[in-house]
């Protein structure tokens, strides 16, 4: 036993931490590069409904988002408190959806156009009227793949 003790009593040279910043910086750059800041600033309140059958949407770059919900309190003076839809960063009317979607499709590479999906992020309290208008517009623009955005919920028996 004493033999081991003797060894440990010898003062070990301290581990050099001078390369620690390098390691951490490497991690830092990795996260800086991969981080994608939120593309849009939400101006409407969207509390997604729950769905047990919700599945993951793949390929983020092929998804266009339409947000529908009540405007945030600070916009309510100007826009009222009725549900509105938001395309990119601005409020829009249902009739703006078709041109916007066509633009989105235009941006997609030719061979991936059929995969473009429109994700409807709708607040749970919104009435179906506005959603239906948007759906009609999407049919007009022939953007038929849609996704009703919902949170994944567990099945309750």
């Amino acid at each position: 036993m004493s033999r081991f003790k003797k060894k440990s009593e010898k003062s070990l040279p301290a581990i050099s931490t001078s390369s620690l910043p390098d390691i951490v910086f490497m991690l830092l750059f990795f996260f800086m590069v991969t981080t994608k800041m939120k593309e849009v600033t939400l101006k409407v309140v969207v509390r997604k409904p729950d769905a047990t059958q919700a599945t993951k949407l793949e390929n983020k770059s092929l998804i266009s988002n339409i947000y529908i919900g009540k405007p945030l309190p600070r916009y309510q003076n100007q826009y009222g408190d009725q549900p509105l839809l938001q395309l990119d960063d601005a409020f829009a009317k249902p009739k703006d959806v078709a041109p916007w979607v066509l633009q989105e499709i235009e941006k997609t590479a030719e061979f991936e156009r059929s995969k473009r999906t429109v994700s409807l992020k709708v607040d749970r309290e919104v009435k179906m009227g506005i959603v239906t208008d948007v759906k009609e517009q999407l049919r007009e623009a022939n953007a038929l793949k849609i996704n009703y955005s919902a949170r994944k919920a567990a099945i309750l028996e």
């Binding site: 931490t17 830092l28 047990t52 993951k56 949407l57 607040d123 919104v126 179906m128 849609i146």
Partner: protein, 199 residues
Amino acid sequence: MAKRSAPEINTGSMADIAFLLLVFFLVTTTMEQDTGIQRKLPEKQPENITPPEVKRRNVFIVLVNRNDELLVNGEPGDINLLKDRVKEFILNPRNSEDLPEKTPTVIEGLGTYEVSKGVISLQNDRLTSFEKYMAVQDVLTRAFNELRNELASAKFGKTFDELQVLAKTNPEYEKKSDAIKKAIPISISEAEPKQTKSK
């Protein structure tokens, strides 16, 4: 003045600074992935074309009215019972006269399978809440997914969900999952809204 060598800057705290930044980016990174229920909208029909006649027995009408109440085939329905009714409608296990017809179809990997002609017609009012609409969509999707799982378990010994996961890496399973999709297509039609009367 005598030239003095400048003292070396202590780099010991460099790690702390870097860690701070690292933690910031870790926290702000959103790996959030969109989840939801995927659907395909019907194509826009030219106005002068009359839609093909569909036999009454082949349609299962689910109507959600402005008070978020359910009307299933013309009678008030319960959302908790909807799933089993849809499953029975699509399967038509006893070949009943008032449930949908089936067309025997040859499907690769499955042999001949009697594909149901049944269509679920989901109708809503402009004042139906999105939450209720999604709840019904969810139940309908679940009915179809369960049917697919049952068929896949019976034929391939794996549920449809498992097949889909395996299909990503193995084309053999992709064929199987495609076969299941063909055997039980998700036939939900989202009609344009109707004005329903409230009580």
